[in-house]
Point group: C2
Chain length 320, copies 2
């Protein structure tokens, strides 16, 4: 019953860190790393790799930088077959911060990009490929891109890069399953020698459903996070994805245990998951930052007021 | 862009009442009725109609019985084109509790049944049809029925009843979209002259996604509840469904307003929505009652322990 070609990329710490500036303790991250290893997860994206010149350490926690030293510390002594990686943003990482792969515990690097920056993304993906890393490209904010521009970019990735896969990233959580199907089809058409992945957000309670849809349409890499942790409405919950995939190499028990031990309490301290303000930004195909800002005010539960503000002509942000 | 043939049946009070024994105040239900009317919703299922001999009034609130008198009180003076109805369970209602439709504000009646009771359901549906009501049958716990038994039951409904539609009811929240597609197809095949509806639960965060799938496969009636309120993991959220349907006759604003005014506060008092224990019962194709019971103990957050209890041979409930 299971699809043996599908691989899971956990981004619990990387995407979850968008909520709290990656201020997760090393003990917590070690617990997550151990649980995911025991669960048989294929890939774990531990955090971003970024330049300390752009992000002040202290304000930002360790997983904004994910140095090799910090990675070595948390994995020390844990039995694991899981492949570790980091995400890099165009323009926010110094190539010199990335050592050759054979000197690093990190083995894959994902380059996050907007379509407009695809040339830079290909350069960076090729740079890390040459250093020995498995490389991926994540195309963010995919719900705002027209097919013509997207196809040109994807053909370029196909011709010029060595990535294992390119991810459809529904940054705004705006996509319905039919749209995921359409986009996965475009990616598969353009990327004849490379895989396709999917990264969903849960603004419309479709993070998991859209991941299912992408797999039905041939995606081979699925992003997920424990308990769905992630910016705003969060991501596809790993526990749901594993139960659906039914691959005997996965074990659900360690993931449920780490939810019980860490994430129930964490959810009482930081907020993520479906809420009407995030539904509204999803439906309007807007970045969730306006919803996040609204949740940090006294009017955090005034959903109808928020909807009116965003949809009436008086709102300069939406008028044009 | 919209599907003009799809009609929405709100069951906010009826399914939400499963959480608190229908102890919603008349003021609250009137607010919901007004919001749904202003939003242009097609049908509202106000509650169950049931015998006071079986359910002690007091312990059970007014929407367990949904008398014509109580309905008249809450709708008094509100402008509305919405069709009002009640749900009846086989064996829990006295036919004499149902007056002729032309003497009642209630205009549709849905008969909830398990497949094994389909003969009783058809009798009751025909009884209320003869009294002038629009009739529906909801086939509950559909994830536990084999196709052969189901098809025989549906052919009988097609031949012997006058229902507008038969609902696929995923009581356990166990279905994945491909299974919804399969079942909707079976229903459409058997019910040549009647509609098909879908009622989802959100155990796997698929309540909305499965409703979308059912519509893609020809379902014409969608159940939903405001803010997804409903037993355990809850239902397909009305606000998501309306935004997706895009029918110009619907207005999202009154629904968001009633969420802001009533449901944010209500959610702080009674629990519904996706939680790992409900995911576990969904994945195991079990009634959510064991998850609800667990949430009422001190061990309410011990998800992994709950999973082990249900999946190890020591658990008599699951062994056979």
């Amino acid at each position: 019953m299971f699809n043996k070609n599908v691989k899971v990329i956990d981004c619990t710490i990387r995407d979850g860190g968008l909520i709290n500036k990656w201020q997760f303790s090393k003990e917590m991250v070690r617990g997550v790393y151990k649980a995911l290893s025991d669960a048989g997860i294929d890939y774990m994206e531990l955090g971003y790799r970024a330049s300390t010149k752009m992000f002040p350490p202290g304000e930002f926690g360790p997983w904004r930088f994910t140095t090799d030293e910090d990675v070595l510390e948390i994995i020390d002594g844990v039995k694991s077959d899981m492949k570790l990686g980091v995400m890099v943003d165009i323009g926010r990482v110094e190539p010199d911060d990335i050592k050759p792969a054979d000197e690093s515990p990190v083995k894959f690097i994902r380059v996050a990009t907007y379509v407009k920056d695809i040339d830079k993304a290909i350069w960076l993906a090729n740079h890390v490929h040459e250093k020995g890393y498995e490389s991926f490209i994540n195309v963010m904010a995919i719900s705002t891109v027209n097919d013509y521009t997207l196809m040109n970019a994807l053909k370029q990735v196909e011709a010029e890069s060595h990535v294992s896969a390119v991810n459809v990233v529904d940054s705004y959580g705006s996509l319905y399953p039919v749209e995921v199907s359409h986009l996965t089809g475009l990616f598969r058409t353009a990327l004849k020698t490379k895989g396709v992945g999917f990264h969903g957000h849960n603004n419309l309670q479709l993070g998991f459903a859209n991941t299912i849809q992408a797999v039905h349409d041939g995606a081979a890499f699925c992003d997920a996070t424990i308990s769905g942790i992630g910016r705003a409405a969060g991501n596809c919950p790993l526990e749901l994805l594993m139960a659906w995939l039914k691959n005997p190499r996965y074990s659900l028990d360690p993931v449920l245990q780490v939810i019980q031990d860490i994430f129930v309490d964490l959810r009482n301290k930081i907020e993520w998951g479906y809420l009407v303000p995030y539904m509204i930004t999803g439906v309007l195909n807007e970045h969730p930052r306006i919803g996040i800002a609204m949740r940090n005010t006294e009017d955090k539960d005034k959903y109808a007021d928020f909807f009116r503000k965003l949809t009436t002509p008086e709102c300069a942000n939406m008028e044009n």
